[in-house]
Amino acid sequence: MNFGTVQALVMRYLYLYTRTPIRAVELLFWPLVHLLVWGYLTMFLQQNTDDSFPYEITFLIGAVILWDVLFRAQQGVAIFFLEDVWSRNLLNVFAAPVTNADYLGSTYAVGLMRAGVTVTMLSVLSIFLYSFNIFSLGWALLPFIFNLLIFGWALGMISTALIVRWGPAAETLAWAVPFFIQPFAAVYYPVSALPVALQWVAKSLPCSYVFEGMRDTLKTGEVDWASLGIATGLNVVYLAVAGILFVRVMNVAREKGLLTKFSSQ
């Protein structure tokens, strides 16, 4: 990976956002809407239920914030590619001395920045609006975020690979892929709430261990490092599989001339 090339590709993305502030709507507005909806729902449930109501309900806000880490990281990878498609710049990039590693490295960096911006905003607002402090997770927050970032990058690579393989008509996958897994990711409810068969699906997703872990940590103050270890191990597998898929699809794209079709449509 060449750092200068990664820097140049990231710089292009930053230029894009500073040139057109309206893009911040996508980065700030939708997450804010989610926070407000889930935050006020949480407050309503807290005020209108007795003490027997599950304590975890207050963690819905934490779930909104951490889900955004995964979603923004995935979007960073997938939207980065689509920006080149939309601007008919794809061939300029792939005909330049840019390796797959350079390209992916820059998408990871953009995903990290996107997640950083959104999560910072949501974390600060949730303190002021709902007295919910995600930082009360302490140091455990770092492995939680790290695991969600890695899984988001992996999903981003898978989304991009599918779009390359199936063409511009599959663009919507850039937004849809994270929501394919969301029902099984234990974001807003525990894995045990799922039917037994689907619990196995949940246990195959690294993010389910993070969301379960977040609830446990906020409730007990203890961190289940073993579960986080499983999440990290699964993430290594997902990242490797997604990387292999991406490289193989790019090779198929070169075989079938798929990249040139993005420029002509």
Binding site: Y15, L16, N89, A95, R254
Partner: protein, 256 residues
């Protein structure tokens, strides 16, 4: 200026099949140092597919592409850093300012003294006054010249130009042709040039490769091409090749 002893680009038996269709069918040609080779043919002749294979965007089904004496598939990134391309079918991101687009690609190509080089290429294409404009607001002709600026940023030793004058008025097209000739003269750049504009070809190209349905019909200078096809102008040759594959005049290159 021409040094054909050691071709900068050597294409050998290059073939690309998409299913049953052979878009490029066993073509061979070379571009010497400082040479401008015109790649001509009607729509669907296989020119753009050939260029995409030379850029490594499309993988050949058979044959080889050697650039600077090295196999493209083995040293793709190293080779691409010494070449560049401009196509009428691509654009630079429309949301970025002209200088921002050039700065991004200048960094990707690791151009030394980038700010100065950006000013140089903008001046060369006579669009210095557009430096701070948003790229998406440029006219088609200005956009093409911006693309050319991107292609010249790294002082490429091999430049692939895919219909660079397609959207330009005669005045600007003439200026672009002069720039192309100038960089060849001053920097010894080797250029592969596709165009449907026969004036471009006559004025700029040293030799011409005439393609039809993925194959090469003839390779030679303008004069040799006219003589071969027994026509008075390259435009007449182009029309005959497009309509009859040149069969009316001559057989395929290499045939007895």
């Amino acid at each position: 200026m021409l040094l054909m002893d050691s071709p900068v680009l050597q294409v050998t038996d290059l073939t690309k099949a998409f299913g049953e269709v052979r878009s490029v069918d066993g073509i061979s040609f070379e571009v010497g140092k400082g040479e401008i080779l015109g790649l001509l043919g009607a729509n669907g002749a296989g020119k753009t597919t050939a260029i995409n294979m030379i850029l490594g965007i499309v993988t050949p089904s058979a044959g080889s592409v050697q650039v600077f004496g090295e196999e493209l598939h083995a040293s793709r990134i190293k080779i691409l850093s010494r070449m560049n391309f401009c196509s009428t079918y691509t654009q630079l991101p429309g949301n970025l300012r002209v200088w921002q687009n050039l700065k991004v690609f200048g960094k990707i190509y690791r151009v030394p003294q980038l700010s100065r080089r950006i000013d140089e290429v903008l001046e060369m294409l006579e669009i210095s006054h557009l430096k701070n404009r948003v790229s998406g607001e440029l006219s088609a002709g200005e956009g093409t010249r911006l693309n050319l600026c991107k292609a010249l940023l790294n002082r490429p030793e091999l430049l692939l130009l895919d219909e660079p004058t397609a959207s330009l008025d005669p005045d600007i097209a003439d200026k672009v042709r002069k720039v192309v000739s100038r960089i060849r003269e001053e920097e010894g750049t080797s250029i592969l040039y596709t165009s449907h504009n026969m004036r471009d070809v006559e004025e700029v190209c040293d030799r011409i490769v005439f393609m039809h349905k993925g194959t090469i019909l003839f390779t030679g200078t303008s004069e040799e091409t006219l003589k071969h096809f027994e026509k008075d102008s390259l435009e007449d040759v182009f029309i005959e090749v497009a309509r009859s594959g040149g069969i009316a005049s001559r057989k395929k290159e290499g045939e007895p």
